[in-house]
């Protein structure tokens, strides 16, 4: 199978190049990550992040034939050759397929991604009805792979000011949690021309999310709450 892979090592390359690879696959090789592991056996200088190889850790996000996705759950049989692989767009490249995710995590951290509840905790669990718990479905499953934020034009233009779809999905995850008491502060924290309102519902995030989550809908819910509290 044929691949064209973005290569750049700041230690020796002046500028990035696309390198061609031809690799013989084993019948057990089902996913793109399997092929990349094989390529790395031929050329150990190819650098990428990978860990769980089942789509739950979020390490191996990359741009695959122009679309962001996880290599470990992208079927080889679905890919047109030569398969063109690039690092996630919009973030600085450290090397080859590895990007610097500091800006992405900074935005995630900026939404205070933890439960706030100042009541003294009960001896046992806090109670939550099944319906209240269901409100978290489609939110808590995010794996922080950054496929969504790095597919978002608003994030490309303002990665330092716009929280981005991943961070906003998590902001809503805590707003939606019946146990959380910080909704007002969370909304204040997003009341800003950039942090939330740079989202123009382009919906690239929904398109690429490997976990089939819907950040645009979560962002819409936050906007609704903002409107509600201003009337």
């Amino acid at each position: 199978m044929r691949f064209r892979i973005f290569r750049y090592d700041p230690d020796k390359d002046e500028k990035p190049t696309m390198r061609d690879y031809h690799v013989a696959l084993d019948p057990h090789d089902r996913m793109l990550l399997d092929a990349l592991v094989r390529i790395k056996e031929q050329d150990d200088s190819l650098s990428l992040r990978r860990s769980c190889r089942e789509g739950v850790c979020g390490s191996d996000a990359m741009n695959i034939n122009g679309r962001n996705g996880l290599a470990c759950i992208t079927k080889l049989s679905d890919l047109k050759e030569p398969v063109e692989l690039r690092p996630l767009p919009g973030l600085p490249v450290i090397r080859d397929l590895i990007v610097d995710m500091s800006q992405f995590f900074k935005q995630y951290h900026s939404i205070k991604p933890y439960l706030v509840n100042d009541d003294p905790p009960p001896e046992k669990e806090r109670l939550q009805s099944p319906a209240e718990r269901e409100a978290l479905d489609g939110l808590y499953e995010c794996i922080l792979c950054a496929c969504c934020s790095t597919a978002c034009p608003s994030f490309w233009w303002n990665p330092d000011k716009f929280v981005g779809p991943a961070g906003l999905l998590q902001a809503y995850r805590f707003i939606a949690d019946s146990r959380d008491q910080a909704t007002a502060e969370r909304l204040d924290n997003l009341e800003d021309p950039y942090r939330l309102f740079r989202c123009h519902s382009i919906m690239n995030c929904v398109e690429v999310c490997p976990k089939n989550l819907n950040p645009t809908r979560a962002i819409g819910k936050i906007k609704e709450l903002m409107v509600k509290r201003s009337v």
Binding site: S45, S59, K112, P113, Y114, E125, R179
Partner: protein, 583 residues
Amino acid sequence: MRSFDAVVVGAGGAGLRAALQLSEAGVKVAVLSKVFPTRSHTVAAQGGIGAALGNMGEDSWLWHMYDTVKGSDWLGDQDTIEFMCREAPKAVYELEHFGMPFDRNENGTVYQRPFGGHSQNFGERPVQRSCCAADRTGHAMLHTLYQRNVRARTQFFVEWMALDLIRDASGQVLGVTALEIETGEVMILHARATLFATGGAGRMFHSSTNAFINTGDGLGMAARAGIPLQDMEFYQFHPTGVYGAGILITEAVRGEGGYLLNKNGERFMERYAPNLKDLASRDVVSRAMVTEIKEGRGAGPQGDHLMLKLDHLGPEVIDKRLPGIREISKKFANVDPVKDSIPVVPTAHYMMGGIPTNYHSEVIAPRGADKEATVPGLYAAGECACASVHGGNRLGTNSLTELLVFGKSAADSAIRFLKENPGQKELPKDAADRSLARLARLDSQKNGESVAEVANDMRRAMQAHCGVFRFPDLLAEGVKKIRAIADRATRTEIGDKSRVFNTARIEALELENTIEAARATMVGAAARQESRGAHDRADFHKRDDVNWLKHTLWYKEADRLDYRPVHMKPLTARTIEPKVRTY
């Protein structure tokens, strides 16, 4: 060089729980992780956390303790098991208070599901003890713990790989050397207390449910520093890995009512475990499956796997309780479990052995006649540690319980140690020498073999010689093979010499760790002449409590073996005396 009160190596469940405890106590702590914390392998845990909350019916930590001791085939230490089972409910409540999105019952309490080997009233009938978030419990838990650490402003060193332990002449641990992956810089992290939470070594096997990062780094570091590894021959093969891909299918599928079928459509577990059937212990189910395959009742054109049926649960239950399994089955087995059964096969999953610890999570390294001597300044928790709560076989859900309980206890012990031992001891002059020599060797190696070649040979050898059933001739040959491969691992050569994010270098360093775990496993298995828990010998069919009710200790130096007694005395409960183990 940088100095801290405490260094935590690893940011999975155990490392993050420990880090949180340390940060909240105001300890100056550095947490090193070779991946961003939420990429750690805890994220892949599916089924749940074992704790006798009693939300679904009567339950007691004494029953949980009994099940765990029996599951361990009496190799588990009864004091650590009591400690874990007693602390488990508190650990779950804490996690809930941190924001963990547990599934709920109508009355608002945490939902619990049945799991293998967990029972009511000392083995009478299955109990619902596994606290879960759908089939994504590990993911929900790891993210919750990371989030709580963000709140506590824990200092992380992300994408830093620890290389070696630093010990002074007295044996006290004074921190680690580490490599910053992005820049290739080596640094000494000088610490008064060092906590290992480095996870398992599942990548020693060819077919494994484990992430690429599970390379036994803490085990390699410990072994090189003269610390023994305990009970490594006890390696768990999970009954249900996706056939051909190795991806885990949680035991929760059977907990929720799924069951295994052979090619004749027979529910064969009824023959092997008439009481708990498909919810018997994992070692029992895996052996039954391999026996079915060997006796010609395996499914598929090669007759080399079995079928896991759950379509009868209906789409509502599957989508609510097992959504991740449906996703995995579609992607990795081309099967929608709402309609069809999933092809599965026992797959290397969990290391019961590890760095020996006591119930304070202090690392044990016997000195002379003192078999309980601890290493000052060193703690271990989670899969890298052998507490030993799992003994010969781990019960499903107890790994998450273990990392919460012992992650916290490791931190508490470290905090106590810091209070009692103020002041930083001086680093030995040769603190970084071993690590620098390893890196220099790798940089200058000529005519060596590729890392992938050596690593693949190691994985094939472990798979072929040290599997579900073990044979004396295969083990003896396996020891020879793995020693030869260990030798080759010291001469690997990498083509990539870049300083920047050199993953070839990381993989070479990881192999030097995994091979130590593999060697300990094979050598320990060849020596243990009995069948107990996950260790099943064709030439010694029975458990032998007279000669082998003891922990194996393996030392890297000359592959030396030693043994230490199992702790049969619980902290407060009565000893659970060994008896015949049936399910």
